[in-house]
Amino acid sequence: MSSTHSYQDNDELLIRAQQGDEEARELIYSANVGLIYMVLERFRGTSYDHEDLFQVGSIGLLKAIDKFDFSFQVRFSTYAVPMIIGEIKKFLRDDGMVKVQRSYKELYGKIRWAQEKLRGDLGREPNVSEIAACLEMDKEEIVLAMEACQAPAYIQDVIPGEEKDQGSLLDRLASEENTVRILEQMALREALSKLDHREQEVILRRFFKDETQALIAQDLGVSQVQISRIEKAALQKLKSLLGDQIIG
């Protein structure tokens, strides 16, 4: 096995510890405390509190010291590591819930705070990697944490109240008449869908494509008078479907 470890398996100390020798227990604990750090390393960058995890990990290590049995035929570390992880897992599952939720909320607040601070420092909008570096977090975590919209803080701190009317779509679409037109088009489409096929075609070509009754008549192989009649009936239907405000 090519792996080298900084901790030691000291059989004699273990036996003494299990027989109630407090000093031996302490020695074996400090010789192996590195295992806890190894395990904790994996939780770096998560929302868990390291101090807490260390406490729990210590319990796992002490349990391993007390319960280790030489008949297992494995090295102490091989036995202790899963015990430490197991203890931490139990802790996370028993106790974690409220905590993590709270810390997500805190995280969200922190991100907002870092964003504001960096905006001030840099004089521009900070990018995600700058926020991540500032908080010592993963960029991806930042992105996902933003999904937990925690509005109250948001509103007081961030909404400055000014109108942010920028953007090309807005310029094209968002004038009041335009929006009302969007709505009308929606209503019109709905109404149009209630006409029969021929009526739809006549209306679309006459009013949306500006074609003449004569042309449509020719295409459909009917007389212009018939087209005129279809058009009139269709408009009548539309009016009753839409009310007077749209097609005056």
């Binding site: 991100i111 964003q115 909008e125 900070p126 990018n127 995600v128 990697s129 926020i131 991540a132 960029k139 991806e140 930042i142 992105v143 996902l144 933003m146 999904e147 953007g167 090309s168 779509l169 094209r172 679409l173 969007i182 088009q185 929606m186 489409r189 709905e190 869908s193």
Partner: protein, 165 residues
């Protein structure tokens, strides 16, 4: 398959940024639950770029629009269709997103892309308009009965690039 599509889309401007630095490709079923999954993932991937949180919000929006369209229109709401998303980051800091379905396809792409056009009277017809507004390039390739591919590109000049320019 993707390379074919890319070939078809290659434009003179695109050749300059053809060096893919990183990519992710994913595939999922046309379940509405996956819309939020898809936008989160592409958002998380885009975080590798030199971009702001606001940029990420916009990326998430366009992915949401394209994937929703595939589910709603492409597969008519049926949940057993397949959707593929490919996101690539190029050397010059641009992000390409391709959303592809194998659904019904679009008869008249030009009409479909018009602001406020929708084939469904209860919808706003804003999806394509959002995609076009928030991205620097957008193309749609669609074949009735075969499916639809939406390719979007957004250029993120990095702080460094800007400084050097």
């Amino acid at each position: 398959m993707w390379s074919v599509i890319k070939g078809r889309w290659t434009s003179p401007g695109l050749e300059l940024r053809m060096n893919v630095k990183n990519y992710v490709r994913f595939e999922f079923s046309s379940m509405p639950e996956n819309v939020s999954f898809a936008r989160s993932c592409v958002g998380a991937f885009a975080a590798q770029l030199d971009c702001t949180l606001e940029d990420i919000e916009e990326i998430k929006l366009v992915v949401s629009e394209a994937v929703s369209n595939s589910i709603i229109h492409g597969y008519n709401g049926s949940t057993d269709g397949k959707i593929e998303v490919m996101a690539s980051i190029f050397d010059n800091g641009s992000l390409e997103i391709i959303v592809k379905d194998f659904g019904r396809g679009i008869e008249n792409v030009e009409q479909a892309m018009e602001p406020t056009y929708s084939s469904d009277s209860s919808r706003m017809g804003l999806g394509f308009t959002f995609m076009r507004s928030f991205m620097d390039e957008m193309d749609v390739i669609s074949e009735p009965g075969q499916g639809t591919s939406v390719r979007m590109l957004r250029f993120f000049p990095s702080q460094n690039h800007q400084a050097m320019a």
